[in-house]
């Protein structure tokens, strides 16, 4: 309905292959970015920024990471939490080694560490598939979270066995640590997420993306057209883990402020996997939807009783939340197994052919 595609024709392949070939989409995205950067900071409270926006963005990035691996390359992983942890601890160590290098750079660097770790734990994927591989990644998960406890060097021998984020500044403005304003942290996180999302979209639309999807859809045929399976899969693990690592680092440095092994437990891995599935396998857009849904739902559930002035104690609400989330996930898988992204596509298509049904 909003679309006016007549007369939007392409005279070059560059234009034809653009991320958003349709003008109206470009406008939409531009609007969202403007709102994200210019409007939200002024209208939303610290609470919103701190416990909704930042986490959702961080998780979206992690979800994108997992989606590259599971959604695009078809390799099921339950090690996401671990890889996020690697990023976080790596970044922590880097800050202690190079206190003067800008934190943003360190965060982006720490991703490489988890990329390396990811690649190592990706090795089994050359031999095994499906749930077997999932279990293999569980090994990574448990080994890593064990390391986060048992290797004191990782957290500089703090008695608390947790990492405390030091204060780091950019042009004198604190970005991390207790003194950093939520807004500042939000802006940094948003920028990094936008940048990395853009890169991800470039990757999946290009040669590498096609190789990944080829491996996902039919590895035999993929090998036959000259795709080296092991390189492609390992690359998928590495890049996926890079995204998760950066997400993990941001989670600690721009959101939680401190973290211990627990923050990167198996539950974290499952949480991210939920986001990917609910959002839609093989869709970047979906990763955002999934993160927002899975993270937002409990918050909403938590506040609705208060809103209606129902006297429920926190514990009960907590339990109810669990139940409802569980039920919703099942309901959701039944309603739309292809995830929120699919709903979005359908809606968009409807708008494009409006007033016709198809």
């Amino acid at each position: 309905m909003l679309y006016r595609e007549a007369g939007q024709f392409k005279t070059s392949y560059e234009a034809d292959e653009a991320v958003f070939p349709i003008l109206q989409d470009r406008i939409g995205v531009a609007l969202i970015l403007v709102i994200g950067f210019a409007v939200v900071p002024f209208v939303s409270s610290n609470f919103i920024v701190n416990s909704v926006l930042i986490p959702v963005l961080v998780f979206s990035l992690a979800a994108i990471g997992l989606n590259l691996l599971t959604g695009y390359t078809g390799l099921l992983s339950l090690g996401t939490g671990g890889f996020m942890g690697v990023g976080a601890f790596a970044c922590y160590k880097l800050t202690t080694f190079f206190p003067d290098i800008n934190i943003v750079i360190l965060i982006l660097l720490s991703g490489f560490v988890s990329a390396a770790v990811g690649a190592v734990f990706g090795l089994p994927s050359l031999r095994i598939k499906g749930f077997y591989l999932a279990v293999a990644t569980l090994a990574a998960q448990f080994f890593l979270s064990w390391c986060f406890i048992r290797v004191p060097w990782l957290y500089n021998y703090n008695i608390s066995a947790s990492i405390e984020v030091p204060t780091r500044t950019l042009f004198g403005i604190p970005l991390t640590g207790p003194t950093a304003t939520p807004l500042m942290r939000y802006i940094i996180v948003l920028s990094i997420v936008v940048l990395m999302t853009w890169i991800a979209s470039n990757l999946i639309r290009g040669r590498l993306g096609r190789m990944w999807m080829a491996v996902r859809d039919m590895d035999i045929a993929a090998e036959l057209i000259g795709i080296k399976l092991y390189r492609t899969k390992l690359l998928a693990f590495a890049i996926s883990s890079y995204y998760c690592g950066v997400a993990g680092a941001m989670m600690v440095f721009f959101w939680l402020g401190n973290a211990e092994s627990e923050s990167f437990s198996i539950n974290q891995s499952f949480l991210i996997l939920f986001m990917v599935i609910v959002g839609g396998l093989g869709s970047l857009m979906g990763s955002f939807f999934g993160a927002a849904f899975i993270w937002g739902l409990p918050i909403i559930l938590r506040f609705t009783p208060q809103f209606f002035g129902m006297p429920l104690n926190a514990a009960t609400v907590e339990h109810l939340t669990f139940m409802i989330v569980g039920a919703l996930i099942i309901f959701f898988l039944i309603a739309e197994p292809a995830g929120l992204a699919r709903l979005w596509q359908v809606g968009k298509q409807k708008l494009r052919v409006w007033p016709f049904p198809y």
Binding site: I128, V135, A136, F143, I334
Partner: protein
């Protein structure tokens, strides 16, 4: 050099030096293994018959145990005497609950999701897990509980046997666990091999149409396996509960069943048992003899690493059918 010694020589020297300790460790491993095996059994049952990788098996164990204890306390509060009667009544009711659960799962989860990709069903069982956690805590409260072991006539105390120049201690409950587990496995084995339903179940594993030809609807089969898995869960719950206590953290050990499955293969009942024992014994030995080298707690991941290494050499597991790539 020194390290190599510590890794490859020293542990075995210790074993030789104190064989009684070795036996003790292996026994504990064995028992743990048996319980892993029981959980794995739940997975296998469901995977075999419905191809669903039931992540909820772990929480089902906890849930079963909680329900049992919960109902028991309820009955007692109503002043039901004697305690044993209450206990067994509770057990019966719990079994009923597990049946209701099985039916519910089949109606509300499996049936609507039939012929969805595995990953989707897998995720659905996650949802189920969340639901059961929430529900369980809501009804029975989150705090740890004590299993009603002696009310159920489960033995207490230990037997010390003098052997190999030392004492090896066998907890009676552990022995009971081992025995009951074995009974469970054997009976399930018979159930699968001998009975008509059992054959139907195996038929389903191969093809759903085959099952129908045996005259059993898919729905029934699913209910049956989930119910069976529920029974297994109760047993496991009682055993674990009796050894430690009943709490939600138990569900994490459920994940231990995964490496067991890897070793045993997703579809083999004996595989589950053997795998369970290997993992149990392996991780206990590793913890006891190699743990100190790395700082303790390695049993949290050792099982997986064992499975992982194992996978690289035999992707389809010990007893799993061979996977052949078709072009």
């Amino acid at each position: 050099m020194d390290l190599l010694y510590k890794v490859f020589i020293d542990p075995f020297v210790q074993m030789g030096a104190a064989p009684d300790l070795l036996v003790q460790t292996m026994w504990e491993g064995l028992v743990a293994g048996v319980l892993y095996a029981l959980i794995a059994l739940g997975f296998v049952l469901i995977f075999k018959a419905s191809g669903v990788f039931n992540f909820a098996q772990g929480i089902m164990v906890v849930f079963a145990a909680l329900t049992l204890v919960g109902i028991y306390t309820l009955l007692r509060n109503w002043g039901l005497q004697p305690s044993n009667l209450a206990a067994f009544l509770a057990l019966g009711l719990t079994i009923g609950v597990m049946f209701v659960l099985a039916v519910g799962v089949e109606r509300l989860v499996l049936r609507p999701l039939v012929n969805q990709p595995d990953i989707i069903l897998f995720m659905a069982t996650f949802g189920l897990t969340y639901f059961l956690i929430g529900f369980g805590e809501l009804v029975f409260g989150g705090e740890p509980k004590v299993m009603i072991a002696n009310e159920l006539y489960l033995p207490k105390g230990a037997i010390d046997i003098k052997m190999l120049g030392g004492f090896v201690q066998f907890q009676k409950i552990d022995i009971a666990a081992a025995v009951i587990a074995s009974i469970m496995v054997v009976s399930l084995g018979i159930f699968f091999q001998r009975t008509r339903i059992g054959r139907a179940l195996r038929a389903v594993a191969d093809s759903h149409r085959a099952a129908l030809s045996v005259g059993i609807s898919l729905e029934q089969v699913w209910i049956i396996v989930w119910f069976a898995a529920g029974i297994v869960a109760i047993t496991t719950g009682i055993m674990w509960g009796a050894r430690s206590q009943v709490e939600f953290s138990l569900q994490i050990i459920a994940l231990k069943a995964l490496p067991v499955l890897i070793l045993g293969g997703f579809t083999s009942i004996p595989g589950a048992i053997v795998g369970g024992v290997i993992i149990g014994v392996g991780e206990k030995l590793g913890e006891f003899y190699w743990g100190p080298l790395l700082g303790s707690g390695i049993e949290s991941w050792l099982a997986y690493v064992i499975a992982l290494i194992f996978l690289l050499f035999r992707p389809q597991g010990l007893f799993g059918e061979k996977i052949i790539e078709r072009v």
